[in-house]
Amino acid sequence: MSADVIDLLAGIAPGSALDTVRALRVQARDNAQNSYLSLFAPEEPGDVSLRERFAVAAFVAALHGDTPAAPFYAGRLEAADAAAIAAEVAAGATSGPYGAYPAGPLSVENTPGLVFRVSAAGRAALGGKLAAALEHAHMLVFHPRDSSDAALQALLDAGWTTTGIVTLSQLVAFLAFQIRVVAGLRVLAAVPAGAN
């Protein structure tokens, strides 16, 4: 049985206070781990290779700033991919959420921000299919409300299948969850009850 990744990244030890807290939602805990396994140790990779899964994950995790998930996923990359991803992370770092709403009363809340495109060097190193995935992942991470059917068409045009896009979307969206649970629990562990 694999170690629970959220516990590992949040530093939750067996028998600790937060171990007890997480045990109250054991289905959520176990199925967050099962989600991780189904994305990163799938029975069969199907339309998304393991290289693609970890490359996108390393990119997405690092875009979330100072999280132990970043070295965790980057550590699964070959050196050449790790270097290429690190360069794209440096170019893609920003803060969100931003983006546009459908035209109307919410338009006053429209917030411009970086529309990320992979560098020529990154595209050469990673290939066009993976480059398209990183561009889409950046939008999902920072400005998901800018999503469109055109963005999905760009993935199809780059060689993604419909089922591959579903897996890719789940992977990025799952990481947005996993990284936040880890972030939240790390803060909670560092501020024990009665400390304030």
């Binding site: 189904s38 994305l39 979330h64 709403y101 919410l106 998901p144 059917d149 979307s169 939240g184 304030n196």
Partner: protein, 200 residues
């Protein structure tokens, strides 16, 4: 034939946050073949075979199954922690902040139903996550929003404010799980299709 997207036109798209029951139209073809045992396990509830959203996600049945079971325990498990109304408030706040009109509609409606505070919930939808909802709800909304920022900016001050309004570590973990989960859900609902208003 290569896969293509679906252009949705002619529907009545919402342009504001609402507690109305919205529909959702996919931009990619839902799964159209015969469902296997694995697909049914992915759907978890057989009734979800009627939903274009779940029928699209069921193309990867395993992650759908585990996503759904994670979701259900975070929001429905009645054992201790945060009252259901406030788990839904955390979900609605994350959705309002990220800009997911569909997700916000569902979970604002649930928050209203369980809290009987529909007007307060609507104020958050209308004015945004800075609306004054009273100290306890403000603390929950603020924490959910801080965790939803990318990168997250959730810190010790958020925990302190939640403790000050009476949340124990079980309840604070429900805020964390509820807001974090909607950072998953929002990104799927926003990026794979679009909402529509019910026909009059």
């Amino acid at each position: 034939m290569a896969d293509t997207t679906i252009s949705q036109t002619g529907h009545n798209a919402p342009v504001a946050f609402t507690q109305a029951e919205l529909g959702w139209l996919p931009w990619l073809e839902p799964f159209a073949e015969t469902l296997t045992e694995r697909h049914w396990a992915g759907l978890v509830d057989a009734s979800r075979a009627k939903s274009p959203y779940f029928m699209l996600l069921v193309r990867d049945p395993d992650i759908l199954q585990f996503r759904t079971k994670t979701d259900k325990d975070i929001f429905y498990n009645p054992n201790a922690g945060l009252p259901r109304a406030e788990r839904e408030l955390a979900a609605a706040a994350a959705s309002r902040f990220n800009g997911c009109i569909y997700c916000a509609s569902v979970h604002a409606r649930f928050a209203s139903h369980f809290s009987h505070r529909k007007e307060d919930v609507q104020r958050m939808l209308d004015a945004g996550v800075g609306a004054d909802l009273g100290e306890r709800w403000n603390a929950i909304v603020e924490a959910s929003v801080a965790l939803s920022a990318t990168p997250p900016v959730f810190g010790a001050a958020h925990v302190a404010r939640l403790r000050a309004v009476g949340l124990d570590d079980f309840a604070i973990t429900d805020v964390i799980n509820g807001a974090a989960f909607f950072n998953w859900a929002n990104r799927l609902m926003l990026s794979l299709g679009e909402p529509e208003l019910p026909s009059k």
